[in-house]
């Protein structure tokens, strides 16, 4: 037993180390090949990450990515590929902003209302894909791509001043109107103009714990994972696969809806044309990188937030910012390839053990039989 644990530790550490080393080396090669200093940009980014205001940005972005990636991951756990997180996120942010701006309630209630509306909206939008899949067999990959585009149009229409939107005097932006202060989620001010850590970031982390618990410690989670691992086995075990698909799609959409909340409740307090987009796509990468595991996703989200934010001043120093995107791509490939290599090694080890065990059990018999 001790030996297995040591092995496990070694194997567990080997993957990430191999990945990080190889991705850094590859990135440096790209820089070198284009005649740039291979060390300085990385140095700059690490330096940047040492500053409090950038740290705040990184932490806040991590929270947003974390939620969106959880949304993607829960689908993946079920073999569902929710490419529509981005659309669900945008639509939910917009609708909840409208609702939030149109009412005034005591603090916690106001926030709760907005959050619930966001989760429901996201779930609703994802649910369409879920229903299409369970009743009509439409691949969720296609339907969520379509729903992303449809969400764009729907939002564009809803946000027109003649519908639900507002065009602030003198602005060329369209917004949903400002949410009253009672609906703002209190954050932690880091002082000295370093910005605020969104309070919702902690909700995101808490949801990570919930995600872990629900998946690993509840019947529901077991059913969900079982369905993801083998739909046929899960069905035979008593899982209603269709309901499971719909449920996980709804949860995924709900989480996607929540991923707009850090920004909405902690920063903008309104949904406007300049509300951040594309979160849902980055989240796919993060979920894959974090292997759909709540802790893994946290690290992956942190890594991506770091690459996003710590690179903000690279262009000022004369390095194309795109280098971070190349790094992201390389990291993903390096991580999965090295995990695969390590996994192959690990499986071989495990089989060897099973083999040894079996051999030990049958050894005596074999010897006797040879003479037969």
């Amino acid at each position: 037993m001790m030996k297995i644990d040591k092995d496990k530790l070694l194997i567990g550490a080997a993957g990430p180390v191999l990945a990080l080393v190889s991705s850094f080396v590859l990135t440096m090669l790209v820089l070198l090949a284009t005649g740039l200093d291979p060390i300085e940009p990385i140095q700059l980014m690490i330096e940047n990450a040492g500053y409090a205001d950038i740290q705040v940005l990184i932490i806040n972005q991590t929270g947003i990515y974390y939620l969106a990636a959880l949304a993607v991951a829960i689908g993946f756990r079920m073999n569902l590929f929710n490419i529509g997180v981005d659309g669900q996120y945008r639509l939910a942010a917009m609708i909840s902003a409208v609702v939030g701006a149109s009412v005034e309630l005591p603090g916690p209630l106001h926030i709760l209302l907005i959050v619930v509306v966001a989760a429901l909206t996201g779930a609703f939008w994802a649910g369409i894909a879920g229903i299409l899949k369970t009743t009509r067999g439409v691949s969720e990959v296609v339907s969520t791509i379509m729903l992303n585009a449809i969400a764009t149009s729907l939002i564009a229409w809803l946000i027109l001043p003649k519908n639900l939107g507002v065009q602030p005097e003198g602005s060329n932006d369209l917004t949903t109107g400002e949410i009253a202060e009672s609906g703002w989620f209190p954050g932690i001010d880091m002082g000295q103009g370093n910005g605020e850590i969104y309070g919702f970031t902690f909700v995101a982390l808490a949801l990570g714990v919930v995600y872990w618990f629900a998946l690993n410690r509840t019947r529901f989670g077991f059913d969900l994972r079982a369905t993801g691992e083998s739909e046929s086995a899960a069905q035979a075990s008593g899982v209603d696969a269709k309901r499971m698909i719909l449920t996980s799609m709804l949860i995924s959409g709900g989480l996607a809806g929540l991923s707009g909340m850090p920004t909405l409740l902690g920063d903008t307090h309104t949904y406007s044309l300049s509300f951040p987009v594309g979160v849902g796509f980055t989240a796919i990468t993060i979920a894959l990188l974090g292997r759909n595991n709540p802790v893994g996703i946290l690290f992956a989200a942190l890594l991506f937030a770091f690459l996003d934010k710590a690179s903000s001043s690279l262009d000022v120093e004369g390095y194309p910012k795109e280098i971070t995107q190349i790094m992201q791509g390389i990291i993903v490939i390096a991580v999965v390839v090295s995990y695969e290599l390590v996994r192959r090694y690990g499986t071989r080890r495990q089989q060897q053990k099973v083999g040894e065990e079996l051999a030990a059990g049958g050894a005596i018999k074999t010897d006797k039989e040879v003479s037969a």
Partner: protein, 543 residues
């Protein structure tokens, strides 16, 4: 052909160890041995799918070394694998010509050739049918045709009879004899010793990776072969005293299941151009083929009811309907006096149905999950796996350890994945799991398929044990000896109907086999070749 000193090691296992076999030209050479003895591995080596670590292969006295099946095929070797190697979504023609396109192309010439071979051996293969629409026996024929098409001189058949009924086996053997007469060499693998004696010219026995002896089929008996194979007497599935009671545990009445067509898609619905075919197809879609046709049966406490039938005659559908995986179009099911027709799978399982699925990989296990999670599968709502919706991994683990101990599941621990266990051990885990919840009624579909002799005996024991305590069992198996030996009552299923019943005490596998092909109906009498047409009621139990 000569194999010499073949050794093959897998991580942790020595599959073949210094094997030496000589196969005479123009003979049927049988290879026997228990599960995992290394037969398939040896054949894969001979077929170039795996590379031996040591040893040499010589064909017609010439040393060869294959790096891919392509090389072996070029040397005139063909192999029919233990598990079908067919692409479902391709036609028979495509499956046959694949890899051998150079021979006759992939068009009309190839089709003609296939027809020719098919007619010559009476295989009755339709080149343009989708493989997916074929039954097992047809698939087997396609596999054989694949080999003949390539003009193989050496034919390897890895357990070709496992899924065939006796009549089909006979037909296959006729084909083999014909091939032999044409000068082909056949290597034939089987667990069924009777068959081996019938068809083989030479027999080689493999045990734990090495050749332990040869036998002459003219003089050897199955008993001798078995002893050579296992080193001890083969256990038999024989059930001793009857434990059948009068209390009905499972009652099925008039279960009917139609093959459902698709509805609601008028946009692309289209019928074939041929008008006569159109009519047929229309009718089928309107009425639906009957997968289960008015099936009625009763199983009592302590009774094992065996169902014999060629695969694809509704057994799978019957199980699925009983489990609640499929909603029947009509008919009722009641368990222990309670109507369960409308209950979902989970409720039925909670209500006391245990399930040993026919395909353990698809329906019984999460291959990539650890053993203790597999122990939870199917019983997530029951103790000790969970309490009030929350899993109790500790208790589940503890219970898994108990199962591993009691059912002799050979594994280094309960954290290894199910995939890393051998088939027999996987099956023992499933049996242990299902028995742990004291089922009232057990569905056992091919409970010992592909399982080695030791594990087989353990599984039979477990089932018998539970039966003694009042368990009702529905046994479905392709192994007629198992079926006859274990069952208290036998029914035969043909085209979705229960067409015949028999007394396991007197019936022979051959009789059963003929009923399975639809040649005999009603009550089958042991010893009497001609079944009498009894008009026993459909829903009565079969005694």
């Amino acid at each position: 052909m000569e194999l010499h000193g073949i050794t093959k090691r897998f991580p942790g296992v020595v599959a073949n160890k210094d094997i030496a076999i000589t196969v005479r030209k123009g003979t049927v050479h049988a290879l026997i041995g228990e599960n995992g003895a290394g037969k398939s591995t040896l054949m894969k080596i001979l077929y170039g799918m795996q590379k031996p670590d040591e040893g040499t292969i010589a064909i017609d006295g010439e040393q060869v070394s294959f790096s891919s099946p392509g090389d072996a095929i070029a040397r005139g070797i063909g192999m029919v694998h233990q598990h079908f190697m067919l692409a479902d979504n391709l036609t028979v023609l495509e499956n046959v010509v694949l890899g051998g396109e150079k021979l006759y192309g992939i068009g009309a010439k190839a089709r003609k050739k296939i027809k020719e071979i098919s007619d010559a051996y009476g295989l009755g293969v339709r080149p343009d049918a989708l493989v997916e629409d074929l039954g097992v026996a047809d698939r087997q024929r396609v596999e054989i045709l694949k080999v003949l098409y390539r003009g193989a001189q050496i034919l390897i058949l890895d357990e070709p009879t496992a899924v065939l009924v006796p009549q089909e086996v006979d037909a296959l053997f006729d084909n083999l004899r014909e091939l032999k007469a044409e000068g082909l060499t056949v290597i034939f693998i089987s667990h069924k010793l009777g068959e081996v004696l019938k068809v083989a010219d030479d027999i080689t026995v493999i045990r734990r990776g090495t050749t332990v002896g040869t036998a002459d089929p003219k003089t050897a008996t199955t008993k001798q072969l078995a002893e050579l194979m296992v080193g001890s007497e083969l256990p038999s599935p024989e059930t001793r005293e009857s434990t059948v009671t009068d209390v009905a545990m499972l009652e099925v009445k008039g279960l009917t299941l139609l093959e459902s067509g698709f509805t609601g898609a008028p946009l692309t619905t289209a019928a074939p151009a041929d008008p006569s075919a159109t009519a047929v197809v229309r009718e089928e879609v309107a009425a639906g083929r009957k997968l289960l046709d008015d099936v009625s049966l009763t199983i009592h406490k302590g009774e094992i009811l065996g169902i014999a039938g060629v695969e694809g005659n509704g057994q799978t559908e019957l199980i699925e309907a009983l489990m609640g995986l499929r909603a029947p179009d009509s008919g009722g099911i009641s368990l222990d006096g309670q109507d369960i027709s409308a209950l979902p799978v989970r409720k039925r399982r909670e209500g006391g149905i245990g399930y040993i699925p026919e395909d353990r990989h698809r329906h019984g296990l999460l291959l990539e999950a650890p053993l203790w999670e597999n122990r939870i599968l199917g019983h997530v709502t029951e103790a000790p796996n969970s309490k009030r919706g929350i899993l109790d991994p500790k208790a589940a683990r503890k219970d898994t350890e108990r199962i591993v101990r009691e059912y002799d599941v050979r594994t280094p621990g309960i954290d290894v994945t199910a995939a890393s266990l051998s088939g027999g051990n996987q099956q023992k885990l499933i049996v242990g799991r299902e028995m742990s919840h004291n089922p009232k009624f057990l569905i056992a579909a091919h409970p010992t398929r592909g399982v080695d002799v030791g594990a087989q005996a353990q599984i039979w024991d477990a089932i018998r044990e539970a039966r003694r305590e009042g368990l009702a069992v529905l046994l479905i198996s392709a192994d007629l000896d198992e079926l006859i030996g274990l069952s208290d009552t036998l029914r035969v299923m043909y085209r979705g109907k229960l067409v015949a019943d028999a007394d396991p005490a007197t019936i022979t596998p051959e009789q059963l086999g003929s009923a399975m092909t639809g040649a005999a109906t009603g009550r089958l009498e042991g010893g009497d070749e001609r079944p009498e047409q009894s008009e026993q009621s459909e829903d009565g139990d079969a005694r």
